[in-house]
Symmetry: C2
Subunit: 183 residues, 2 copies
């Protein structure tokens, strides 16, 4: 039921989806849905929690990693791409959240805390001399996760069954750059 709700939210927007639409897509009565959840907002909450839980695990590991900031940053990028691939409909929903309800506000607060953590890692990596000194931490953090999050626009799990993770090309572009390093 959650998977179908998320599919509809992504197709029509959360605001544009009614419990009636959901019942129709599931082929069951509206009352049967209310047997399981209190309403649309609980479905949104469950869906966003699923995306956020995946990112929280990666964040905690990146925080705890006994390694320089640049390595923890790369770990965070790689892990985020993998969460996005594993849970793409849930992450897509998270990235499209607008602040209308308390559930959405709470999710956005968590996204902002995540962005701050990324910016801190970038700033530390600059101080360590591992990222170019002219890189602005906030802009770099936004570009880096803009790159990661842009994948939801075209990633289709069905098409890429068995395909290699995008974590490698994303990290190669962002950390090493596309240009061949000539010796």
């Amino acid at each position: 039921m959650l998977a179908v709700a998320v599919e509809l939210f992504n197709e029509r927007g959360y605001d544009g989806t009614s419990m009636r639409d959901l019942a129709a897509r599931l082929g069951i009565a509206k009352s049967a849905i209310y047997h399981h959840v209190t309403g649309k907002e609980e479905l949104l909450s469950l869906a966003l929690d699923r995306a956020l839980a995946g990112l929280a695990v990666v964040t905690e590991r990146a925080r705890a990693l006994p390694a320089p900031a640049i390595e923890r940053l790369e770990y965070l990028v790689r892990g985020s791409v993998e969460v996005l691939e594993a849970e793409s409909p849930y992450v897509t929903l998270l990235l499209r959240v607008r602040v209308n309800t308390d559930v959405e506000r709470a999710a956005l607060d968590q996204r902002r805390a995540f962005d701050r953590f990324v910016a801190e890692l970038v700033a530390q990596a600059v101080r360590d001399g591992d990222i170019r000194p002219d890189a602005d931490a906030m802009i770099t953090a936004r570009l880096l996760f803009g790159l990661v999050n842009s994948i939801v626009e075209w990633y289709r799990p069905a098409r890429r069954a068995g395909a290699a993770s995008l974590a490698d090309p994303v990290c190669a572009m962002a950390f090493e750059g596309l240009r061949t390093r000539r010796r």
Copy 2:
């Protein structure tokens, strides 16, 4: 009037905006709008043309540039970021287009042709030995313009009056990579 229409389309979606909404925001009668345009679809068409015209100029220059593919690719990225900064509401609208009307279909066809051109440049740069040989042309093209296009999610022209263009940090990350190159 076009600027206000684009503002509304970006806030509520093209489908979610009525001519009545537009008249209310402009503070004029609906009939006064029809004095200038035939309807909502003409406004969409004018707005998308403005974004596409900017990108077409950059594409033509990149195509004609007497330089290796890697330089033409960087020129295209840089120029696209500058178009996005100069015309951000129009580019935002273009990036959110869904295929419902002929106007949207035509805009998407142009975006697809643009994506193919990017992929061709990447493939040529790989053959030239200027991009790492393990880079997949299609994935690289998508990541590169995912990075560029992600800027519309947070770019606010008003806040950055007089600020440096994002073209430098975008190209630095994508082509040189964040990691300091140690000698």
